[in-house]
Symmetry: C2
Amino acid sequence: MSLTISSPKWESFYAERTKWIKSSIIRELLKFTQQPDVISFGGGLPAPELFPIEAIKKASSELLEKEGQMMLQYGPTEGYPLLNKEIVRYMDKMGVKCTPEEVLPTTGSQQALDLVGKIFINEGDVIFVSKPTYLGALQAFNSYGPEYIGSLMDDDGLIPEDVEQVLKKRHPKFMYVISTFHNPAGVTMPEDRRKKLIELAVKYDTIIIEDDPYSRLRFEGNDIPPLAAYSRERVIYLGTFSKVLAPGFRLGWIVAPKEVITKLVHAKQGTDLHTSTYVQYLAARLCEQNIIDPHLEKVRVVYRRRRDLMVESMEKYFPGEGFHWTRPQGGLFLWVTMPERINSVELLEKAVENKVAFVPGNAFYADPEEGKNTMRLNFSNMKEELIVEGIKRLGELLRREM
Amino acid sequence: MSLTISSPKWESFYAERTKWIKSSIIRELLKFTQQPDVISFGGGLPAPELFPIEAIKKASSELLEKEGQMMLQYGPTEGYPLLNKEIVRYMDKMGVKCTPEEVLPTTGSQQALDLVGKIFINEGDVIFVSKPTYLGALQAFNSYGPEYIGSLMDDDGLIPEDVEQVLKKRHPKFMYVISTFHNPAGVTMPEDRRKKLIELAVKYDTIIIEDDPYSRLRFEGNDIPPLAAYSRERVIYLGTFSKVLAPGFRLGWIVAPKEVITKLVHAKQGTDLHTSTYVQYLAARLCEQNIIDPHLEKVRVVYRRRRDLMVESMEKYFPGEGFHWTRPQGGLFLWVTMPERINSVELLEKAVENKVAFVPGNAFYADPEEGKNTMRLNFSNMKEELIVEGIKRLGELLRREM
């Protein structure tokens, strides 16, 4: 049936922006590291053995029984109203006051990052990011062609004085901030720094995009409210169910002033019309049934044990001198800074030969020439005995490198 | 806890493209027409009473039981491999040969439209669309700032001679084509026109984006293979489960040459990382169990009856002279062309007063000054007795207008 057709020269058809849209190094790495005998600290996955599968099964059956026609039909871009209400209740517990109209469910918080890019970034706009920062945010923003400025962090996250030095020179459209259990760095900003950061946003007339996937995963210390608890005016908050229920739902949300939500809704209409009604109904029901809090109790115990084991093993097997690692009080990741002469991209090749993997830290910098002596380790998605064994292998390799 | 914060002047923060990103007129209209006593032919919803709820319930329970950890975890951007295989099998039945690597599951076909825009459209690029065309496509493309060219259709869709006249003058980056049961026009291109359109794509060195949500909903006449069956080289095919399973899944797919899929995958990584694993597992299982074909048997019987009733009622109640409507052999919509002096936007206001609604046709034109004497009627989502009553009300209004 086929006609004889010449293929087009595809390169001449692609948009300019495809030059900036690169594959995630993590996704590429995963292909190498997913050999079953490699102990990989490279991913960012929650522990699947803890997923509340029974509760989801029950909710799914009940909902399909009673509301199947609605949960399988098209729905409003603005979100399934009961879910928006449940998100308001969830945010309230974290100290953030908002209304259902100030909430927009998204297809994972990755979509939230894309929508934020879409409504705010003109090509050449300046954006402030921490060094390092979440690479999925860089990926989302890159397709809109921004320029990045940023500043380093210490064990308490962004340093307001350093941030101000940067803001004095260039005015960013927004500051992208992961305030709690930073990905990749694992660090958390204390309350005084949060307040100062908001004051800087006001002083330099900019806004803050706060990405907060992990703050409910605190297994040590006291909760610190998100930046959005201190300022709804200047902070657009991104949340997600990926780490507190299940990533497979692809369900996140944005909390923003109503007028910003309206812009985001218009952008989302063209982007995917709305987030899966089925998944929104499921999440709303699970929230309603208060599944998340008892589920997180279990998660925290396991993640804490894994972090402890990883830190203990690093203390035991890593060379001490010239090495520094963060000791996160929650979340999924810790961050290792090594002596300058160690290049973590080259190190990874040797590590994979030794059947252990991580993510080279430069993947988390807007400029991949930075952070070459750093790496990110994930502790949430690895059985205890393999954490010890994997860190031992990595430690032995590092000792040989020194 | 809140600090005293001044709100930013949001208008000064939005990107230029937000001027082109408007809310869908349909979504806005729905708010008016969803009063329970309004008979609305305005939506584009499948009949929810036909959703295969029992099959979905069973598949969901079984999958969560056996593969819960996988279906709730993160997955590859490229798609859940079993789903890609099932889509290959589905396409094969329609006469389109492809491999799993040439398939990309998307978050509804709306996302496919956005990704196509993202990888192909530079600001100012020329795109060919039919007049009228699907407004969701305009919405997706608009955020990338293209310029539109196009040509009118007759009862057999795009007219190759007219298309060529347009292509001679301007070279489009791509042609966006709904070949079968066109939304909104309800028309289908016969085989010879399909072949000629592909020949034009070759002659003028452009490509075709074929949007095909409805072709499996044929209740009359013989199947005509999609454009992609005649040329995989020049045609990027967009499919969806929304009309053959359930829109609430938000699950569609793209079939394209491998190198284009690679670009789309990179774009999708930044856009939503991947489509819901949960939903992809569900759809793969339902395909595997061959749920779709027997389900569509039932759907076709109902939709045919509703189309018949709508057409019969129009013949009975509409003024004949100066009115023309399409008689679709499948899909969800028919299209009415009225005398020039009738403005369907003004007509809608009066219609809603008379408790009946439709979509004014100019919403489906790149230039909303065109098509003001047209309207789209949906017949799939309305109970039989209400179709007769709604068309009667509309006909009475039209007779008064004449």
